[in-house]
């Protein structure tokens, strides 16, 4: 089978090492003999629903975020249709913000999003920069744990409820309705005070976590991949076992007790 990834605005929204998530997904699929086809969507490209098994959208500079926001509007319907049909998505920082309704700068200037996430973001004076650790919500944590091949773990029932990464943003994202990914035990997350990070809608996720996110969070990587396969085949899937010792050592090394 060939997994179809749609990578939104790779040349404009690729400032923070987020391309590493694509590399991670590609390799983890390759190691399981799953082919991956990556379609790049750049300004003025067309995007039709039904051709994507996984969306990816990274972070970038303010000027480029505004630039792609306008082009993104034409894809609103396609992306919305796909997300409603359960297509998984990973959107990070600026990409996450644009999946919401809008980004309002400190001067009141409005950058339109596509509103597939019921969130909006406001520019602030708070610089939320640093290592971030998230405890996933129990429901999500359970789904991720169950989708992950237990043979990959160093010991049975090893804790896999955490996510580790690095955040760098001053935008504060307000959740209007829906669920977050989890609460922060280190760092800020969506805003300066709530202690909540990220957003989830069906199989689509938004987060402020760079790192890149997926390499040190192999359980989340496999969760997204399995959801992508499930979307294509219609069947839940358990990915074959893989040696994730290094991934978990790296993950553990970032955990603050």
């Amino acid at each position: 089978m060939t997994l179809r990834i749609t990578y939104l605005y790779p040349h404009h929204m690729n400032l923070y090492g987020d391309t590493g998530n694509i590399l991670c997904i590609q390799k983890r699929c390759q190691w399981r003999s799953i082919d991956v086809k990556i379609t790049l969507i750049n300004p003025n490209d067309s995007l039709k629903p039904g051709n994507t098994d996984l969306y990816f959208f990274g972070g970038g500079q303010d000027a480029q975020q505004e630039f792609v926001a306008h082009d993104l509007q034409q894809h609103q319907q396609s992306i919305k249709t796909d997300l409603e049909n359960g297509v998984p998505a990973l959107t990070i920082c600026g990409g996450y913000q644009l999946f919401g309704h809008r980004f309002v700068t400190k001067d009141g200037h409005i950058i339109p999003g596509i509103g597939v996430f019921d969130i909006e973001t406001h520019g602030s004076d708070h610089r939320m920069i640093g290592n971030i650790q998230v405890e996933m919500n129990p429901e999500l944590s359970s789904k991720v744990h169950n989708a992950y091949n237990q043979q990959n773990l160093a010991k049975p029932n090893q804790a896999t409820s955490t996510l580790v990464g690095f955040e760098n943003h001053s935008g504060e994202t307000k959740i209007l309705s829906g669920k977050t990914v989890g609460h922060t035990t280190t760092g800020y997350g969506n805003d300066y005070t709530s202690g909540q990070e990220g957003y989830q809608y069906k199989n689509a996720f938004g987060t402020y976590m760079h790192g890149s996110l997926l390499p040190k969070n192999p359980h989340f990587a496999d969760y997204l991949i399995s959801k992508a396969i499930e979307h294509q085949t219609g069947q839940p899937t358990m990915l074959p076992a893989i040696d994730d010792q290094l991934e978990w050592r790296a993950h553990q090394s970032r955990l603050k007790r």
Binding site: H11, G20, D62, Q64, F166, P215, L246, A250
Partner: protein, 427 residues
């Protein structure tokens, strides 16, 4: 100089001597910081010690090499200069350089020429106080986003300080870099004379890169359309045009690069600087003994090649050029201390797929060795982790290359000094 300045300098000089005697570093930052705290605008006064040109060299990569080349050539030609040789390039580093020249009464003798390497963010406070006569900009790439913020933020800040320059300044800049060309072509301050340095290959070659390479497909700084490069000298730089708004450097007179390396580019910038200072640069060789920039050292029976890496563009170029030579083993030393940048996400933006051979062993070390091991794993390269430099000596390899971030490099230099393989870098 005012009495306050002399007193502050005298006091800071004592601090500098204490630091050096304790052996805890070269006294190239702390004394300056102390002076700065006591007398925040001290640099405005200190600049009066310079009788001739004040040169500032800044940019993401290449500052130290370019500044070193200029300073060494000037010294060889008999000029008396002041130079922040050890790369301490914040305002405190520049002040510390002045302190080094002071006597115990805090007086600084007149100095002919000053060559200062300046940190890209610190340039915004340094330029108004130091009032350089010559400013060299090497390039502007993404680097330490946790510290510096976005590239365009830095560029905007530079535009702003240059708009406010009130004494004659010559700007020499690398026009192969779209960000710098966008900055330079927007300047209207009549105090500034602009000299673009435009570099090309002998045979124009638009290099081809892997599809997901995040360092190519560069957007136009004016309108965000992806630029078309007809010639790439190093990744992210060359001859380009925007088919949408016509922003381009094609019309500039170009200088041919003798080799496509970042050192050759730094060399050209250094030569242009020297020419502006009235020195006809006969030397085309880059002086050796540059702190951590491709230093080759004999370590016991082994030869260690030591290369500083800081950001994806610089790392890509450094790795590409270094692996042209035969290496028996490659070591990556990745730290995440403040000076290295605390966010190591950038390692995922180095397009290693285009560079690293699969037939040699890889080692990793540093506070974030697991991250770099993971990065290499995702390129199908297994790694061995090491905890100390001693372990490298116990291997059978003859030629080792070490790519290290800044504080890992300092750590390595201290180890080398302790073992007697190299003088302490501040001596």
């Amino acid at each position: 100089m005012t009495f306050t300045t002399s007193l502050t300098i005298a006091f800071s000089k004592i601090i500098q001597q204490i630091v050096r005697t304790l052996g805890s570093g070269g006294g190239s930052a702390l004394p300056g910081l102390v002076a700065q705290k006591l007398h925040p605008n001290i640099l405005t006064d200190l600049r009066k010690s310079i009788t001739g040109e004040i040169v500032c060299i800044s940019g993401t990569n290449g500052k130290t090499s370019t500044a070193n080349h200029v300073a060494t050539t000037l010294r060889q030609s008999g000029k008396q200069i002041l130079h922040n040789k050890n790369g301490s390039n914040l305002e405190r580093g520049i002040i510390s350089a002045f302190i080094s020249q002071a006597n115990w009464r805090g007086a600084i003798p007149p100095i002919q020429t000053a060559i200062f390497e300046c940190d890209e963010a610190a340039l915004t406070t340094i330029v108004p106080k130091l009032q350089p006569t010559l400013l060299i900009l090497t390039n502007l790439f993404r680097d330490q986003l946790d510290r510096y913020g976005e590239i365009e933020t830095t560029r905007n800040r530079w535009e702003s300080i240059l708009a406010n320059v009130s004494s004659p300044l010559k700007l020499i800049y690398n026009a192969s870099d779209p960000q710098l060309h966008a900055l330079a072509t927007k300047l209207t301050n009549s105090q500034i004379s602009v000299e673009p340095l435009m570099l090309t290959n002998l045979h124009p070659s638009p290099e081809h890169h892997t599809e997901l390479n995040p360092l190519t497909n560069i957007h136009c700084p004016r309108c965000n359309t992806i630029l078309t490069f007809t010639d790439e000298i190093i990744i992210g730089q060359g001859t380009y045009a925007c088919h949408n708004c016509k922003f381009s450097n094609k019309n500039l007179n170009a200088t041919l690069l003798p080799s496509i390396t970042y050192k050759a580019i730094n060399n050209m910038l250094a030569k242009a600087t020297l020419q502006s200072l009235g020195i006809d640069p006969l030397q085309t060789e880059i002086p050796t003994e540059v702190f951590g920039r491709g230093e080759l050292l004999q370590v016991g029976q082994q030869q260690w090649n030591i290369v500083l890496i800081k950001n994806p563009n610089g790392a890509y170029q450094a790795i590409k050029e270094s692996l042209l030579h035969t290496q028996d083993a490659v070591i990556f030393a990745l730290n995440d201390n403040y000076a290295d940048g605390t966010d190591v996400s950038w390692i995922w933006d180095i397009p290693l797929e285009e560079l690293l051979p699969h037939d040699i062993p890889y080692y990793t070390t540093g506070t974030r060795k697991l991250d770099i091991s993971l990065r290499l794993k995702y390129f199908n390269l297994p790694t061995d982790e090491i905890d100390s430099w001693d372990q490298l000596q116990n291997t059978a390899h003859h030629n080792l290359i070490i790519f290290a971030t800044y504080t890992a490099l300092l750590d390595l230099q201290q180890w080398l000094a302790k073992k007697g393989y190299k003088q302490a870098y501040w001596k």
